[in-house]
């Protein structure tokens, strides 16, 4: 009777300990921002912009595609089904609550975690295996300043920007779907705007920031956690992506 309980306790303690280590890593990275010299800031900014180009710039097409198809399908079905019972006003709630506020941040973060999270974890793990992280430390450079902060900043910006893209495309695709099913543009705009509240906006922004933090931090942590063997790189990348996805879902549940 005690064995399963002690195993459960041990496993929970290990997970909490890892969560604590991740939190310390995150705080350490954010705190290291304060000690960045001016020349280091310009290098970190350059790395951040490069990362944004990869994480946000090259993912715009994917986000437009996902958002457009999802919104068009959902609103097409909803207009048809809700129209039968005379409840087309609920389309506004559907667009704002389900797509813009809930699915938008979730799908955007999942897409970035799958695409860039894997890349970040692999890149940092390779840096570690090649001895580059050790060389940075030996030169008196905090690896968090050069490797983690730019990626964290880039993920925060990228998730936010892509979320705006996702939501704009979702509303436009929803309009296209509604028009296709006989609803006028004015009517669509009216019910969407009626359903939109300030709470929806700040909740969406808060989710973008929280998910961006997860997508930037978790892969960096797993990437830098490898030791020496190159065989650890794919393992770190895989664990980073899975953990980030689980983290995003848990975080979404907390917001709910």
């Amino acid at each position: 009777m005690t064995d399963p309980l002690s195993r459960l306790g041990g496993s929970t303690a290990r997970r909490l300990s890892r969560l604590g280590a991740l939190a310390r890593f995150g705080f350490g990275a954010l705190r290291s921002l304060g000690t960045l010299p001016a020349a280091g800031r310009s290098v970190a900014l350059r790395v951040t912009l490069n990362q944004i180009r990869f994480t946000a710039g090259q993912a715009v097409g994917l986000i437009v595609l996902l958002s457009g198809i999802l919104s068009f399908l959902v609103i097409s079905q909803a207009v048809r089904e809700l129209g039968r019972i005379g409840a087309t006003d609920l389309i506004g709630t559907l667009i704002v609550v389900v797509i813009v506020r809930e699915l938008g941040p979730l799908i955007t973060a999942l897409a970035i975690a799958g695409r860039s999270g894997t890349a970040i974890a692999s890149e940092l793990a390779t840096n570690r295996v090649m001895g580059e992280v050790r060389a940075l430390e030996a030169m008196g450079i905090d690896p968090r300043q050069y490797l983690v902060l730019p990626r964290l900043g880039a993920c925060l910006v990228s998730v936010f920007v892509l979320l705006v893209v996702f939501d704009v495309v979702a509303v436009v695709a929803g309009f296209a779907a509604a028009s296709f099913n006989g609803m006028t543009g004015a009517r669509y705009a009216e019910i969407v705007l009626q359903s939109l509240s300030a709470r929806d906006v700040w909740l969406t922004v808060a989710k973008a920031l929280a998910f961006g933090l997860i997508v930037g931090l978790v892969p960096s942590w797993f990437g830098l956690s490898v030791r020496r063997a190159s065989t650890e790189i794919p393992v770190a990348a895989s664990r980073a992506t899975v953990t980030a996805i689980v983290g995003i879902f848990l975080c979404a549940a907390l917001f709910g």
Partner: protein, 225 residues
Amino acid sequence: MTAPLAFEGVPLGGRGSQPVTLEVPARETVALLGDEDSGIGRLGGYALGLDQPPAGRALVFGTEISRLPERERLAFRRRVGYLPAGDALLQNLSLRDNVALPLRFGSAATTREIEGRVNVMLAAVRVAAVGGSRPARANEEECRRAAFARAMAFDPALLILEQPFDGLTARTAAELLEFARGGESAEGARRAILITGQELPGLLLPRIERVYRVSRAGAVERETA
């Protein structure tokens, strides 16, 4: 006067190894030679506080770096030039940016001052012409020259060089050692240097004050000229 670098009772970790006590006095170049599995490759990490020795202590300018708080530890390491085995240049940066990186993150110098210093360093190691290339596009000698320049970015009084001359001609090795020593005066070289590796080109020996070798039993013995 405190030696810039001292190891006190530090085991190298090989089978049957004995604790090593070794000093690198100011203005002298000391070479510690041994097989790849002798454990001498660990000394740089111990000295810089990157690893903790299983026993004994490594002192840099009288300080045990590994015992310092994190921020002070990073700052203290800038007083030491370190060339790890295999160069460890960052592959996504050009040779020029590799040399500039420690200055950009570890000094309050302006971008213009840093650029000036990097130009001087690249010219001194004769890689100015390929400074814009990434390590993968440069040859082994150019990478090693850039790694030397990076190790000396802060003009340190102490240098730790791991297998610095592997794969280089004796002539290039002699040129880089002269650069590392930083010029001679009546008291000796400008810098204290610890070199670890398997063998050294004979051309360098006149410039190295002490050569030690780790025996198969793990004992460190001084070689005589």
